[in-house]
Symmetry: C2
Subunit: 120 residues, 2 copies
Amino acid sequence: MTHRRPPLGRHFLLDIAGAPFDLLDDPIEIEEALVATVKTMRAKILGIHVHRLAPQGISGVVVISESHLTIHTWPELGEAAVDLFTCGDEAAAKEAVTALGPRLRAGRTDIREVLRGVRD
Amino acid sequence: MTHRRPPLGRHFLLDIAGAPFDLLDDPIEIEEALVATVKTMRAKILGIHVHRLAPQGISGVVVISESHLTIHTWPELGEAAVDLFTCGDEAAAKEAVTALGPRLRAGRTDIREVLRGVRD
């Protein structure tokens, strides 16, 4: 049996569909959703960038200590891609990502979890 | 046969090991590596944050239009986790991520590619 080290981090990949155009195109709404997600994780924000793209769409990143949260939205498709990379508490991270789909009023949210770090 | 839409974006997950402590703990070296990666992609940087953590380690994010590049380093382990999410040219993105392991003088780089967007 191979001895395996714990993963360096956990990475949640969320693909969201069926969300309202106006919400996905609003930088304030998106920033509030990102900040709420980090608060649910009880983590500390080191930096945040939210950009509105032309003709529509938002790109946002939050730097958290040893972690990050990012979002890209396609309002014209009702879709968004969210990434949460975390080295913190797993249960709090799961709670945070699970809350994000309903917060963005998504019709569908696919969540994948990837363990990070080189594997044996 | 199901008609499938093209993916919203391509996401490269790099797990790096065997890199030198000093390089992984140097915010200037890490920022230069991030900027070089974006240049290889011929993309435009909208924002960049590089933080040095205590007692060691770097967290860095770059916002690119509809894309992002992030890194977290663990100098004490010789490891780093890099993410490149891109909606741009696939070949340029592959060239950029392939160059990153040697640039960080990694002994090993595992690259995974994930197609983003809800799946049928």
